[in-house]
């Protein structure tokens, strides 16, 4: 299975290596560097690279390449899924997963990796089990105290208990409206839970409208049978943060798109100036504010510079990458944010034949666009009263507007 792991940063330095079987020379990564060079962007580096004696499977996250070396046939998703799990674990341990953090905690990282695989086969990948074996650096002290407390006979139940069952619903869209009509839109969501309960609480979570859920996948703690028969999520939660459920809302229900974008981008053949205007506005938001709006667009190569004035927020245009980005912030329905101005084009060149795509990011608090509602969350098996809370949120996924 997985032979070795190399962590490579964006400048091509191997800053960590771990071998689970005999040592593989780091020169094997040269093949990876070759592929990296060939691919212009990091995103385009193929996830599977064959070399004469090994195969390199990599994932790219947080500007780090996690390159696994394998020698024999293995399902590639097995390795890829595992690498993602490694990244998730690091994130869970250190809050962020970045090169400096990994370098700072190299011993913990190394020990975690040692526990996660034995002879290349996954051993312990659940972060709550790992945390029992190897303490994360920050919560070290407090946990030691708690544990010793427990050993002295103060049972779990006596400890102050609290739970924060925070359910984030993140329905996300992918939609590409062209000439006013939506090409495709879908809602996918997740329920992330943060559970901090003592003992062995048995939780059940029920929905007002479980029929909405079309396709679901569960955390292993969820009892599948119960879901099949009653559409209730019944589970004994692991400690801490975990993704309880991810779902997809059936496409038959038309998606109400909460924003619209008006655009007027025109190039003229003769002149070296183009007109540019974008307006963003809310629609069907059920009275909630749209916030965190960011508009980005990759302008055609012919655009030399842009002189724009936003009605609110800040904007930047990078003349090298031709990336326009406009941080709008909140949308005030009374005064719609707009960005107007001109583009200066390469003199003499004919007008670019493609129109830029506009990407939109936004968030809506306290609203689940899918209409999914949690009915109740009950706890069985423990006597204390837990603190319960739920937070709904809608976030744009890959929201693109073709112009």
């Amino acid at each position: 299975m997985i032979h070795s792991l190399f962590l490579i940063n964006s400048s091509g330095d191997i800053f960590l290596e771990k071998h689970w079987k005999s040592v593989v020379s780091r020169s094997v990564c040269d093949y990876f560097f070759e592929a990296q060079e060939r691919a212009t962007e990091a995103e385009n580096v193929p996830p599977v690279i064959p070399t004469p004696h090994h195969y390199l499977l990599s994932v790219y996250r947080h500007k780090i390449f996690f390159v696994a070396v394998i020698q024999t046939e293995v399902p590639p998703l097995f390795v890829i899924e595992f690498l993602h799990r490694v990244v998730d674990t690091f994130q869970d341990y250190f809050g962020v997963c970045s090169e400096p953090v990994i370098k700072d905690n190299v011993v913990v990282v190394y020990e975690v990796l040692e526990e996660m695989l034995d002879n290349g086969f996954p051993l312990a990948t659940e972060s709550n089990i790992l945390k029992e074996l190897i303490k994360p650096p920050t919560i070290l002290r407090t946990v030691v105290n708690t544990i010793t407390g427990m050993e002295k006979g103060e049972t779990h139940r006596e400890l102050p208990s609290w739970v924060k069952a925070l359910n984030n619903l993140l329905p996300a869209f992918c939609l590409i409206p062209i000439s006013g009509s939506t090409i495709t839109a879908e809602i996918q969501g997740v329920i992330d839970a943060c559970v901090k309960l003592t003992g062995m609480p048995d939780l059940t979570l029920s929905f007002m409208n479980p029929r909405l859920l079309d396709d679901v996948s569960f955390h292993p703690c969820v009892r599948f049978k119960r879901w099949e028969s009653e559409r209730i999520l019944s589970f004994i939660p692991p400690d801490g943060n975990f993704r309880l459920l991810s779902y997809h809302v059936s496409a038959q229900n038309l998606v109400a798109i909460p924003v619209y974008v008006k655009h007027n981008i025109s190039f003229r053949d003769s002149s070296s100036l183009g007109r540019f205007e974008i307006t963003v506005g809310p629609k069907q938001t059920m009275g909630k504010t749209i916030e965190g709006v960011i508009v980005t667009s990759q302008m055609p190569k012919g655009v030399l510079n842009m002189s724009l004035t936003p009605s609110q927020g800040t904007h930047t245009f990078d003349p090298v990458t031709k990336m326009l980005s406009w941080d709008v912030g909140k949308i005030n329905p009374q005064k719609l944010p707009s960005l107007k101005g001109t583009m200066s084009l390469q003199a003499g060149a004919s007008k670019p034949d493609e129109n830029p795509t506009i990407n939109l990011q936004f968030k809506i608090q306290q609203l689940a666009i899918s209409g999914l509602k949690v009915n109740r969350l009950d706890m069985y098996g423990e006597k204390y009263k837990p603190f319960k809370g739920i937070k709904y949120m809608t976030k744009a996924g890959k929201f693109q507007v073709r112009t």
């Binding site: 996830p47 399902p75 029992e132 303490k135």
Partner: protein
């Protein structure tokens, strides 16, 4: 870092192996030896000093720095002697880091590594399972050939360890030892065989992994474990699931016959498929007996289905490929939704999944058609994803959706990513060839693209147009002219070559233009690309043959240029053409046919997917499939066998195991699905009871009832699942029930399990009617004698055999782990929680009777009931109730019977036989059985006489919902250990000391509840055990006397509701004076 000592806690051998450290010290070379080298080594020098220090903190710091060096890939091997002597350190932190170091460098320093072996050997015997496991892990990771025998011994021992976690590590060690010394193969196979029989889900994945690595060809080892693996699959950890599913896929392909009809080949359309299926079924019906699926085959397909909901992409993909490769074609469809879900994951996952979907979509368009829009390309996708999506879109294109797709493609062509735009044009070409209706539209669209400003786009369009025109050359003179004009502007060689070729082919249709083109080309010949030069030569030759008057000289000029070209291909081609077309004395017979040779009708190229090539013969989801080359260690998926190998090899004949598996079979027997599969039953003669009972299968008729059977399968799997964890006594009961129904010769066509059990109840009733009457009579006598214990030898009538314990002792990990980790580990353990139950006779039967019907309200008929506390003869889930009827009137009461029943959901009641008449002042006792479903809900019914009906009800005290259980103190503690947390309720009781004598407590407890006494070693702790009648869950009661006049009352049970009710009832009883 210093925190995880709790994991290894105090138990870790205190004084272990200090002498090893001393040994090691003596072998260390004097530290001055490295003095010659640079300052870098000086740093190591201080590390060495720190390691020698007496302070643990210094050592720990040193070790951390060393591990940091290893992580960065720096060589730290020279510190080996200094590090290895700390292997026996008492500090767990240091020890662990030393292990890390040791594993990394042992291979390089074999002699010194040997010094550490004895530490591990000792740790292998440690009472803490984590320490045993980690010792085995490190020992087996030390790649030193000399210790192979030691490793072998350690693996053998560990494979028999009580802790499943250690056994899991043993399975991992097998692979390590095998790679170190392949000669151990035979011995290792023995260990694998043993571990394959393991019932722990923790072990299953790892041992199958070892199997795949060491002896993937020994499929005979799997037979006996096949059904177990299928049933365990859902509970195995996710990584193990992937490995097991892949292995089982291969297994299924060797052991079962193909579920695919011979001639349905590659289905393009679901609709077609169903039609052809129907037709074909008729045909096959006539021709030969229909295909019936092996029940084991069905078992695998059914048990993997829930895993499509896994969060782990690898598991979903593994199930998808299993369905693709082994399930009937009509069932493959369910995987598409799950695969499409994976597309919303990370780019790497997308990449692999899209590749697999691409392969699938070539063969089965219908599967992914509903998800067409999921494959639309976003401008932010990486190029490789874009290309794959395009590929799939092309595969999915058909007459119905092509117009939408073409509109979508138009946007892609305008994309800023020109590579992608070019790929789109290719795609449009393929769509045009595949769907004849749109060929013209596509062609026109492509011609428009010829005026695109981007060269790559234009070039690609030319190439595609060339291919399209070749298929229908007739009416496209205009396009060719247009393209000829493009020659002036286009510089991309492939495009130029394509245009030249097109003109050459169609030179007779454009007689004026062709020679002119040749003239232009002759001018620029020397500066053209090789590809273009070859086409210029071709064009020249063709024109020479058709229009030699105008082009003879030009062609000869070109041939002369070609003769002195640098490229030998071109020189060869020139020579060849000259010989063929220019007539001279030496030219042979061939030149006569020159025109036919050059201007032959050429078959149009097939525009095919690059994925079509060979890729589909690799198993989906494998690395080899992704790379499209055979990866090292790829195991071929064999073709279906013509005739299925003997299916009986999978029958498990060992008696204990057979018991384990029968319930699953029985459960199926009572399934409604059975009706559909009656033919298959006939086929398999029902001599063998297990194959008989499992004979439902996906026969041709079964496939029609697709919806039904899939519903069933989920039900079935649930019942099966349940029966796995059901208590042994229930197993026994089911078997008797079955026996009864068999003896009656009734076929099992009842519609549900419950029904059938009630069925068999009624039968057993009639069978045992006479007996039960006897019982009643005898009881009556005893009753009159005021016997305190009516339950005597009559018990033998109740066939207690059925309650025979099948005890499978559970390997219990030493509780050295922190509690939650234990819970985690145990959650993975398969053993049923109630494995040590054996039903006992009641300790005490209270004489307390309850009024059912007062004589005043019953018009002279009085009824009392009491609980005789014996297993009910009417059904094992029922509570026995004895009703004593008294006639207080002065006339006969006739026909006493039970009328309408009003029972809560699930509750069942077995009524007594009507009493014909009751003499005045007479009394009669009858028995009934009520299944209270482990609840204290009231059973209401009507007690009727000839003239009247009286509404009566029975509410059971919670203590009567139990059956006493005999178990040892050890078992009790073990079970109690498993029922902690939410399963535990407790309270404190305060009472006078005289109430806390053992006999009083015993008396009080058994008075309230029908529990069995567990012998106790301690005077101050009293333990009682019982199980609930309906579900058989354990109910453990502990009374622990404390100082002063208090006691702690603890109840452990899965049925927390009953537990707390019982607690509430026991508390006042125990505390009262």
């Amino acid at each position: 870092m210093s925190s995880n000592s709790f994991a290894y806690n105090e138990q870790s051998g205190g004084g272990e192996a200090t002498e090893l450290g001393q040994e090691a010290t003596s072998t260390i070379s004097p530290s001055g030896a490295f003095g010659l080298f640079s300052s870098d080594l000086k740093k190591n020098e201080d590390l060495k000093q720190m390691l020698e220090s007496t302070k643990d903190s210094a050592k720990l710091d040193a070790m951390k720095r060393i591990v940091g060096m290893i992580a960065k890939g720096k060589n730290a091997s020279e510190l080996f002697p200094a590090v290895v002597k700390n292997v026996a350190s008492k500090n767990i932190e240091i020890k662990k880091l030393v292990y890390v170091y040791l594993v990394r460098y042992a291979e390089e320093q074999q002699d010194l590594a040997l010094l550490s072996i004895s530490t591990f050997q000792r740790a292998l015997k440690d009472p803490n399972q984590l320490i045993r496991a980690s010792a085995l892990r490190v020992l087996s990771s030390i790649r030193v050939p000399i210790i192979v025998p030691i490793m072998m011994l350690a693996i053998k021992e560990a494979s028999a360890d009580l802790s499943p976690y250690v056994r899991k590590n043993a399975a991992h060690a097998i692979q390590k030892l095998y790679s170190l010394d392949p000669e151990q193969k035979e011995m290792l196979i023995e260990v694998i065989e043993k571990l394959l029989k393991d019932k722990s889900t923790l072990v299953a994945g790892s041992v199958v992994m070892a199997f795949e690595e060491v002896c993937p060809d020994r499929i005979d080892l799997i037979h006996k474990n096949y059904r177990k693996l299928c049933n365990l699959l859902v509970d195995v950890e996710e990584w193990g699931q992937v490995v097991i599913i892949h292995m089982l896929t291969r297994y299924a392909r060797t052991q079962f016959v193909s579920p695919w009809k011979e001639d349905d080949g590659l289905e393009d359309n679901e609709k077609n498929f169903y039609e052809s299926d129907d037709e074909q079924k008729e045909k096959t019906d006539q021709r030969k007996k229909p295909y019936t699926m092996d029940p084991d085959h069905r078992l695998l397909i059914r048990n993997t289905k829930p895993l499509l909901q896994s969060r782990n992409a690898a598991v979903v993909m593994a199930v998808a490929q299993l369905y693709w490769h082994i399930s009937p074609k009509s069932e493959v469809g369910i995987i598409s939704k799950s695969l499409v879900r994976l597309l919303r994951s990370n780019r790497e996952v997308q990449y692999i999944v899209l590749q697999n979907i691409a392969t699938m979509s070539i063969q089965r368009k219908g599967m992914f058609e509903p998800y067409l829009k999921s494959f639309y390309v976003r401008s932010t996708d990486p190029t490789m994803i874009k290309t794959l999506k395009l590929e799939i879109l092309t595969n999915l294109a058909n007459e119905a959706n092509i117009s939408t797709l073409l509109r979508e493609f138009q946007t892609y062509v305008k994309s800023q990513d020109k590579q992608f735009a070019a790929a789109t044009i290719q795609t449009i070409g393929r769509c045009a060839t595949n769907i004849s209706e749109v060929t013209d539209t596509c062609l026109n669209g492509l011609v428009c693209l010829l005026s695109n400003r981007d060269e790559i786009v234009v070039a690609e369009s030319v190439v595609v147009i060339k291919k399209l025109l070749q298929m229908q050359p007739a009416q496209h003179g205009e396009i060719i002219k247009h393209m000829a004009k493009l020659l002036d502007s286009i510089t991309v060689p492939v495009a130029r070559a394509s245009i030249l070729w097109l003109i050459g082919e169609n030179c007779e249709r454009v007689p004026k233009i062709a020679p002119d083109v040749l003239r232009k080309m002759a001018k620029s010949f020397t500066s053209e690309d090789d590809l273009v030069k070859l086409q210029i030569l071709n064009l020249g030759a063709k024109l020479y043959l058709t229009n030699s008057r105008q082009t003879k000289l030009l062609t000869q000029y070109i041939l002369n240029l070609g003769k002195y070209d640098q490229n030998y291909d071109i020189r060869d081609r020139t020579r060849f053409i000259r010989q063929l077309i220019v007539p001279n004395e030496k030219s042979g017979a061939l030149s006569k046919y020159a025109k036919k040779i050059f201007l032959a009708q050429k078959p149009a190229p097939l525009l095919e997917s690059p994925f079509k090539v060979d890729r589909d013969h690799f198993q989906l989801g494998t690395l080899s499939h992704t790379l499209n080359t055979k990866a090292t260690g790829y195991l071929e998926l064999s073709n279906w066998p013509e005739v299925a190998p003997d299916p009986s090899v999978r029958n498990v004949e060992v008696i204990e195991l057979a018991k384990e598996w029968t319930p699953a079979g029985k459960a199926k027997k009572e399934n409604p699905a059975k009706k559909f599969y009656s033919e298959s039953e006939e086929e398999e003669d029902s001599s063998d009871s297990s194959s008989d009972s499992e004979s439902e299968s996906g026969s041709a008729s079964g496939e029609q009832d697709e919806g039904d059977s899939s519903d069933d399968s989920s039900e079935e799997s649930s019942s099966e699942h349940g029966s796995d964890s059901e208590s042994a006594s229930e197993v026994g009961d089911k078997r008797t029930a079955k026996r009864n129904s068999k003896s009656k010769g009734k076929s099992a066509d009842s519609s549900s399990e419950e029904e059938s059990s009630s069925d068999s109840e009624s039968e057993s009733e009639s069978e045992s009617e006479s007996e039960s009457r006897k019982v009643t009579k005898e009881k009556e006598k005893k009753k009159t004698k005021q016997d305190r214990n009516p339950l005597t030898k009559d018990v033998s009538l109740l066939d207690l055999d059925d309650f025979n314990p099948v005890s499978t002792p559970v390997a219990l990990p030493t509780p050295a782990l922190s509690p939650s980790l234990i819970a985690d580990l145990e959650g993975l353990n398969l053993s049923t929680s109630s494995s040590v139950i054996s039903v006992n006779t009641p300790v005490f039967v209270p004489v307390k009777t309850h009024v059912l019907l007062h004589r005043m309200s019953g018009r002279g008929l009085a009824a009392h009931y009491f609980f005789p506390r014996q297993p009910c003869i009417f059904g094992d889930k029922m509570v026995s109730v004895q009703i004593t009827l008294n006639n207080t009137t002065d006339r006969k009461i006739e026909n006493i019977h039970i009328g309408g029943k009003k029972l809560p959901m699930g509750m069942q009641m077995h009524v007594f036989n009507p009493i014909e008449s009751l003499e005045p002042e007479g009394s009669i006792t009858v028995s009934m059985g009520i299944d209270f479903c482990d609840s204290t809900q009231t059973a209401s019914f009507q007690l009727c006489t000839k003239d009247d009906c009286f509404n009566v009800n029975i509410q059971p005290p919670v203590g009567e919902l139990l059956l006493p259980v005999a178990m040892s103190e050890k078992d009790f503690k073990k079970e109690q250990g498993m029922l902690t947390g939410m399963n535990e309720t407790s309270t404190v009781i305060i009472a006078a000391p005289q109430n806390f004598t053992p006999s009083v407590i015993l008396q009080k407890v058994v008075n309230v509840a029908n529990v069995g006494v567990v012998p106790s070693g301690q005077d101050n702790i009293h333990r009682f055990a019982a199980k609930t009648v309906h579900s058989g869950s354990l109910m453990l009661v502990t009374v622990e006397l404390k100082e002063g006049s208090t006691a702690q009352l603890i109840i452990n049970t899965e049925r927390t509701v009953i537990g707390s009710v019982l607690l509430r009832e026991l508390k006042p009883v125990l505390s009262q004076g």
